[in-house]
């Protein structure tokens, strides 16, 4: 009798231990909370992170930058313009509505109403339903990046977002300003977590979706409490004090502090955002000279900036495409060489240097202001005297478009995770009508780059396309079309036992659904 009793107790303890092991709450602190509940309203890193928690895409990027099937189980190319997706069966939205091909059509059509997504989905044509669990997604022209774009397709609950709400307004409206149903209502997605509470700017609670389709996911977080903590020092203090379990981003100046503390871990992951300075050839005569531009690139000590200013949280760059992108070319390394820089200046006839102006943001990229200051100091060594003006991001972008300075800083992350995006926005000759070169404030222009970049868009043969992209990267490198600094790393501070390693990636989308807490 006694034995049975003890056994029973043991079993109970085991059981309850198992229970507590499965019920984990993650207290998460980010620099900002999701701006809206309508994932198609705003295109930003923060909104995409949120989309991965509460929704699922058709496919997603794995850590090694391969495609991982999510709501699409299989896909095949039918012809140059069409890709057929086979959808996962038995998936339910948080509202209880079943997920079918109809939701894909609804989602694709709604992208066209969103100012932010409209441009990205411009190459797409009609979406055709084959049966309940098969859809054909088409493009207007052959499009190499169809699968890359499928990582943006987070199917919406068409039933939930159709009809009119109690204010008599259509539920599917995508509005930037004022009330819209999708923006203000807790969303119905297919994701691992379901939003149960939200006070904008204060707190958001997400609870695990009990019917989540991905039974193989090792994730054991049952509840996420997200608090935005804008102040960097406070965010770090909250982690060190044990008030939160997971913070991102971590300011570089606090890296050592977190590494030294035994209760917390620091995780970093190479990111894809390149930080650059553009040299305006239209404004400043000397910058039209290739040798001067090269001299400037040679004068910049990328390694010094990554080490001293970024405290090792950045990878020094000689090109735009980070490793893993098709355009990445191993030989295009950073070129710091001061003697060569001085020699080039002499050859160009500017041995006595010249004066120039520069603008940079001071709260957009990690340590942006310090990087700009270092850049100016480095240029002074080749006798280029730069007067720098920095400003908050709220004012910066309008200024950037006006091009009031000879040097302008810009960081860029490719929306498609493909090299072509860099060239389209930053390197092609600016053209108001087509929109290409929209952020090329250096007015760098090379016909061959323009032609090849456009050709890449429709080239679906991977080998040829890779060659083409690398050729472009090489041309811009030789022309010294801009000054590369580094790729910013993503940084996460976590409490010991929070196994963040497997769920972080280049895209800075921590897949919290798969997060394991010990």
């Amino acid at each position: 009798m006694k034995k049975i009793f003890i056994l029973g107790i043991a079993a109970l303890m085991l059981f309850s231990f198992g229970m507590t092991a499965n019920a984990k709450t993650l207290k998460l602190a980010l620099d900002a909370d999701p701006k809206t509940m309508d994932i198609q309203e705003q295109l930003s890193g923060g909104m995409l992170q949120f989309s991965h928690w509460v929704f699922d895409p058709l496919v997603r990027w794995a850590q090694d930058m391969s495609f991982e099937p999510r709501l699409a189980t299989k896909w095949e190319r039918i012809d140059d313009l069409t890709m057929r997706f086979h959808l996962r069966k038995g998936v339910k939205f948080h509202s209880g509505n079943p997920f079918t091909a109809k939701d894909i059509v609804f989602t694709m059509n709604r992208f066209r109403k969103s100012a932010d997504f409209k441009g990205l989905f411009e190459p797409f044509g009609e979406t055709k339903i084959v049966d309940d669990y098969t859809v054909d997604i088409t493009t207007k022209k052959p499009y190499a990046l169809l699968l890359n774009m499928a990582t943006y397709i987070f199917p919406l609950d068409s039933k939930f977002y159709t009809g009119t709400d109690d204010q008599g307004k259509p539920k599917d409206a995508v509005l930037k300003v004022g009330y819209s149903f999708a923006k203000m209502t807790l969303p119905s997605g297919t994701g691992a977590f379901k939003c149960t509470f939200r006070e904008h700017g204060v707190k958001m609670v997400m609870e695990r979706n009990a019917d989540y389709w991905d039974k193989k996911s090792p994730g054991n977080v049952s509840k996420i409490i997200l608090t935005p903590i804008k102040e960097e020092a406070t965010r770090v203090a909250a982690l060190l004090a044990g008030d939160v379990d997971f913070i991102t981003p971590v300011p570089p100046q606090d890296f050592q502090r977190i590494q030294k503390d035994k209760k917390v871990d620091l995780m970093t992951y190479t990111g894809g955002r390149i930080i650059t300075v553009q040299m305006n050839q239209k404004r400043l005569e000397p910058l039209r000279n290739k040798k001067v531009r090269q001299a400037i690139v040679y004068a910049v000590n990328n390694f010094g900036i990554s080490k001293k200013i970024m405290k090792g949280t950045a990878t020094p760059a000689g090109q735009m495409s980070p490793k893993g992108y098709y355009g990445y070319k191993e030989t295009l390394a950073p070129r710091y060489n001061l003697r060569k820089a001085k020699k080039l200046m002499k050859e160009a006839g500017y041995a006595d240097g010249f004066t120039a102006t520069m603008i940079a943001p001071n709260n957009r990229y990690v340590n942006d202001e310090k990087i700009a200051e270092a850049f100016c100091a480095m240029l002074s060594k080749i006798k280029i005297n730069v007067s720098l003006k920095t400003m908050p991001k709220a004012q910066y972008w309008d200024e950037f478009d006006r091009q009031p300075a000879d040097f302008q800083m810009i960081g860029w992350h490719s929306d498609t995770e493909d090299s072509g995006n860099f060239y389209e926005f930053l390197s092609m000759t600016p053209n108001k009508e087509t929109g290409y070169g929209q952020y090329n404030s250096g007015n760098y222009s090379n016909k061959a780059v323009d032609v090849l970049t456009l050709a890449c868009q429709t080239e679906t043969n991977l080998v040829t396309r890779t060659q083409m992209l690398q050729e472009i990267e090489q041309m811009i490198y030789d022309d010294a079309g801009y000054v590369p600094f580094h790729w910013q790393n993503h940084s996460y501070g976590v409490k010991k036992g929070v196994k963040a390693g497997p769920i972080i990636n280049t895209l800075n989308f921590p897949y919290l659904g798969d997060l394991v807490i010990e």
Binding site: G119, G201, T227, K230, A233, A238
Partner: protein, 324 residues
């Protein structure tokens, strides 16, 4: 009295108009709210369309008169970031700030009066000297530094107190209060001490010097001569007369406390009006900025009016000169 209040209301309206006008004029140099609303990749044409829709492309005076007209109906516009009426956003954030200021005021009163009085009575004791020395440093240390140091000592190293936020709150008739939960009170300690730290040195010195002055007056000397109990002399006769100028200064200084909540709330992620305002500036949420300025302006006018009225009641000399 009636004429006085009418005059005050007219003054208030003028102040409002001036504040809103200034707020409106500076908003263009703060930045473009549309930039924050859309992703970085959105084309110029799309942004222009949105700007048109928001009426941001109208001439300045058209925008201003539209704002004033709506404000007369109690509508101060819609926050671009929160997507709710600005009044609604500000009123929701107000309790946090008011509670913080209330707690701070209590701390200030509890510390400054005893310390100030003590150091006036015993100006040469070692305690008074230390207090005076420390308070000189106290004036010089900026509030965000005090706040971060406090967070590191009590939040990170000792782990006695929470480092950020308001903790658990209870909703009573629409007022989110942190006063009724243990967690809420614990969260209140560090922010209110930081905020109080800027005022403590000032008040201790003010009370000390006022009190020392009063102690020199004839009637105190007379009280000593009469052989009154010394506590009675200090606390009743001297202290009471120290109070009047101190109260006046407190009325004015509450306004300054409001200004310092901007920094304190940002460091502690305290979800009040100050935090909201700084965030609005960063996001160029101009509608919210202007609304905040107007509402804070109203509060200042009301506080100042109240101080004037009370002052008139307390001190007849003011009433007599004021009525002319």
């Amino acid at each position: 009295m009636f004429a006085f209040i009418i005059r005050r209301i007219i003054q208030a309206v003028i102040v409002m108009l001036v504040i809103s006008f200034i707020g409106f004029s500076v908003q263009h140099s703060i930045g473009d709210p549309v930039r924050d609303m859309v992703g970085e990749r959105v084309s110029e044409a799309e942004r222009e369309a949105l700007r048109d829709k928001l009426g941001l492309n109208d001439p300045f005076l058209t925008q201003y008169f539209r704002f004033v007209k709506n404000a007369c109906y109690g509508d101060l516009g819609i926050s671009y970031f929160h997507n709710k009426p600005t009044m609604h956003v500000i009123l929701r954030k107000a309790p946090a700030t008011i509670e913080l200021i209330f707690a701070t005021t209590i701390i200030i009163l509890l510390i400054t009066f005893p310390v100030g009085v003590y150091s006036a009575i015993n100006p040469n004791s070692w305690f008074s000297r230390v207090v005076m020395g420390v308070s000189t440093i106290g004036v010089a240390v900026p509030v965000f530094l005090t706040a971060i140091i406090l967070i590191y000592i009590f939040g990170v190293e000792l782990q006695w107190l929470p480092a950020f936020g308001r903790g658990d709150t209870v909703n009573i008739w629409g007022w989110e209060t942190g006063f009724l939960t243990k967690d809420g009170l614990l969260h209140l300690i560090l922010p209110s001490i930081s905020l109080a730290s800027i005022m403590l040195p000032l008040y201790i010195r003010l009370i000390r010097s006022e009190m020392m002055e009063v102690l020199e007056t004839e009637y105190i000397k007379f009280a000593w001569a009469k052989g009154l109990n010394r506590y009675r002399v200090w606390l009743l006769h001297a202290f009471k007369n120290t109070l009047l100028p101190v109260i006046t200064v407190i009325g004015v200084e509450i306004g300054i406390l409001f200004a310092f909540t901007l920094l304190t709330e940002t460091v502690f992620q305290w979800q009040g009006m100050g935090f909201m305002f700084l965030e609005a500036v960063e996001r160029a949420d101009t509608a919210l900025i202007v609304a905040y300025l107007v509402i804070v302006g109203v509060m200042f006018v009301v506080i100042n009016t109240l101080v004037d009225v009370i002052y008139g009641f307390v001190n007849p000399m003011v009433r007599i000169t004021g009525s002319k």
